[in-house]
Amino acid sequence: MRTGRRSAHRRARVSPLRLPVIWLAHHLQVALGSLGHLLRNPLATGMTVAVIAVALALPAGLYALIRNLDLLSESWNQTATISLFLTMDTDLEQARALAAELEAHRQLDQVTLISPDQALSELGSYSGFGEAITQLEENPLPVVLTLQPTPDLWTPAALERLAEEAETRPQVDFARLDTQWVRRFQAILNLAQRGVMLLGGALALAVLLVVGNTIRLEIENRRNEIEIMELVGATPAFIRRPFLYTGGWYGLFGGLGAWVLVALALVLIQGPVSRLAALYHTQFPLTGLGPTASLTILGGSLCLGLLGSWLSVGRHLGAAQPH
């Protein structure tokens, strides 16, 4: 009893101000200890990390791809034009006046006038019906004005409004917007985005299972140690802690691996994409994951690792309660 009181006294003498420091030092020690344990088994650790990295790289890579396609379709919107087909009784003179008037519109960069003769000869040379077309007595084509909106007006809705506004003029028969297909493309992208989210969810579950199972094996391997720690008075939280940190490390390294894989894939794809873009006389630098997406991958992966080990630890530890 005497020794007991003495030791109790000694323990109580730790200043309360130092407790957070001790706590932090302990956590740091456990975190580094878990890391060291993982690094001492590089093959097993590498396998688990690789599985997590590949599982996460798949949705992350698809996300990056969709993001780039999205940016691409936005740039297509910027080059969208509105074609105004004028009524048949509008002559060239009136059309020029309208063009001049529209040119002053602040949402329009450029207005191009295509006369019926121009259009007809173009049609002739493009379609191969040149001979037939010259046989026509009267030109059946109306005057067409091509409107080039300013680049800041790139949302489909704004373009549509502009087209509707132009259509209200008496000289205009109808307006046609060349963005229909861009919108369809964007709708498909939206769908693909959903698909990637679902895939991401499924693969996140897979990561949970991988981490959970790895931690379960680790717990089995260290049963003896866990039991002894319990016998000498370690709290359940203390026993859980290294496993939670191990899960956290798996998540973090898996996330880093996924990030590197996606970055590598983008670098590898950039060459062919640049060559393709050059064929269309444009440039298309691929956009990387960006800070937000990168942090989401790392943070999400870390959380998955922690959650996976937490679930596993909850299931496979704490069985040593006295009956």
């Binding site: 009893m1 005497r2 020794t3 007991g4 003495r6 030791s7 000694r10 323990r11 730790v14 001790i22 302990h26 003896n224 140690e225 039991e227 002894i228 720690m229 319990e230 016998l231 000498v232 008075g233 370690a234 709290t235 359940p236 203390f238 309660q321 006295p322 009956h323």
Partner: protein, 222 residues
Amino acid sequence: MIRFEHVTKRYPQRGNALRNLSFELAAGEMAFLTGHSGAGKSTLLRLIGLIERPSRGQVVVNGRNLGRLPARKIPLHRREVGMIFQDHRLLPDRTVFDNVALPLVAASYGHKELQRRVRAALDQVNLLGKERTLPITLSSGEQQRVGIARAVVARPPLVLADEPTGNLDPELSREIMGLFERLHRVGVTLLIASHDQALISDLPYRTLTLAGGALIKDTGTR
């Protein structure tokens, strides 16, 4: 220090390992627990260490009623009870130092205090200088001394030993008993299970004898 009141421990399908057992052990007392194999010695020690709970009756240790102790307080209870096992229960992949340090690590001792206490405990069992060795390279007697150092390193007021001399020759057994007597002299309460009659009868300590889970003989404090 320890009080058993009509304690029965029943294992499903195995019947009663302990039957209606009552006894008291005062603080600072040293006692042996003996009886044939299967008499319930280990079960009794497990109840004190709260590895098992009684089926009926009360086990009171250090003023705590163990049957009612909430699960979250079990670790604190175990820190005040040093346990020694026949099979040592050492971690084969940790050095002697790390094995002995386990109870201090579990109780979040600071680095300096931990170093000091582990050294003191190893000195007590005459193993200073073996800190960096792995348990498998030690003899059985040395391993048992490592187990004892681990049990006393946090200076618990109560030490339980289950067949601590089971694998040892008479000379080593007496050496281990000498260690226990030293602990007894500084005020530690000790309960030692053993069926080594020759060893026990040589020593002037109280002996509790179990048979079939019941207390059949108690020499009383000598």
